[in-house]
């Protein structure tokens, strides 16, 4: 039960929670948060895989950094869409 296995299990659980939130979450905002949780789970898997080698695998860290910025811009776009749909309803 090393550090790597523990964080991989946490990532698997996070993925499950994120999927549940995406499927069930009533409000749109909650589904976007659930998407971010799923993203966090995937990045946790990648960073834990990078931590297996002694000097942590910088290539994977760069990939996760790219993924993080992509996730933020996608979230910003989704939130702008949610804000517009909500103000249309009001």
């Amino acid at each position: 039960m090393s550090l790597v296995h523990w964080y991989l299990l946490i990532a698997a659980a996070l993925w499950g929670i994120g999927c549940y939130g995406l499927i069930r979450g009533p409000e749109l905002l909650r589904r976007i948060i659930a998407l971010n949780l799923m993203g966090a789970a995937v990045f946790l898997v990648m960073v834990t895989l990078a931590a297996r080698t002694e000097p942590a695998d910088g290539v994977l860290h760069a990939l996760v950094l790219t993924g993080l910025v992509v996730a933020v811009s996608a979230t910003a776009f989704a939130l702008a869409l949610v804000a517009r749909t909500l103000s249309e309803q009001a």
């Binding site: 993925w15 995406l22 749109l28 589904r31 976007i32 998407l35 799923m38 993203g39 789970a41 995937v42 898997v45 990648m46 895989l49 290539v59 994977l60 990939l63 790219t66 993924g67 992509v70 811009s73 996608a74 776009f77 989704a78 869409l81 949610v82 517009r84 749909t85 249309e88």
Partner: protein, 472 residues
Amino acid sequence: MNFALAAALLPLLAAVLALCWRRQAAWLVWLSTLFSLLLALAALWQVVTAGPTTMQLGGWQTGLAIRWQLNELSALLLLMTALIHSLVASYSLSQWRAAGLSADFWPLSALLQAALSSLFLSVDLFNWYVTLELLGLAAVALVLLSGKKALQAAMRYLLLSLAASLCYLLGVALLYGHYGWLDVPQLAVAISEHPVDHRLALWLITAGLMLKAALWPLHIWLPAAHAAAPAPVSALLSALVVKGPLFMLYMIWSQLAGPELVVTGSWLFLLTGSMALLAGGWSALRTPYAKVMVAYSTVAQLGYGLLALGLMLQLSDPVFTQALFLFVLAHALAKTSTFLAVGEMQLRLGGKRLSTFRGASQTMPLAMFAVAVAGGSLIGLPPSGGFVAKWHLLLPLWQHSQLWWLLPVILAGTLLSAAYIFRLVVLAFNRAKPVSPDFAPALLPQWLALLPALLVWMLAFASGALLSWLGG
């Protein structure tokens, strides 16, 4: 490889310049699509004469750098992207003031072309993730161009597209965890050396890509999004955006799947393909709205692609690869022409329902002719490209008697597609609704809508060259 690099970078440069000088954006992007068409032709010619080449981006060795691979297949797909973009750009240029298409269309469509070109050229798993995300965001932004009515459809499209990208990324992370390679050919070598059970990674990647390509069970977002988008945008979406993930599915399943996984995968694609044909055709038959019908026809026609992929995996016969990419080419041209013509008629005659097309053959004969010719290729009538693709799908099936049940399915699919195309064409020959005397729609947009239909109609004459390029 230089021409292919130029063909991929030109739309990128055009998009950035279009954002700087917003008044000349239209001309700038239109010229860039034409130039990239010429460059793509030159790239194809270079590949045919000098053979396939690869390029390591940045000059580093294989595992570290992103690798671009230019063979006949990717050159042909690059040419298809450039051709469809130049057709749609010229159509939009000819009537965007009338249709009220906002000026943001131009940088977004140029970015879409750049994303697609770099997707077709690259063979790096993580680079595919970034291009896939770029493709998804550009498509959602383009759908939003038609304002308030597209909000709901775009929201659902964006959420599902983000979830699909995350599934794909998780699959890629697992593969990198097992084998340590991101480069697909190198990964295939690593898998063949000491195979490890990576089924979940492949299923995650397949689920993500099937959702992105709107393949049958995960197609729910497509009809609303493609129908709500303006005509040139829905042409781009149906013809090109859904083909990117389909190309990735082919590349991944043909190289990374182990022998026993290929069998299960092929059965999955065969079943989903058949269901796509039947369910897509049936929904297209029953919907009262014209653009929704054309969108469901995309879902149905993608069924042929799935069948070709499934058969290629099961019988490992290269003729099915030819059938798959012939279908991709033929469907792209036919669907562009159909969406442009239907959009033009909807704009001029006003109204979304099929009843507005009553008597369209008298009021707008040219656009109606385009729909009929493109419909012929969708059904698969000779000598259109659709016929050549279906022919190369059916011919080898006769020898393999264990897949007998596919023949009635394809027959039923063809009948359904004939039904929903003629449903529109028959309406056009009824007596036209009274039209104001000065009703004279511009002819240039209708001619531009007819052009891809004529191109796909003559595809059979070019099938010899196409077949030899597609791995004959």
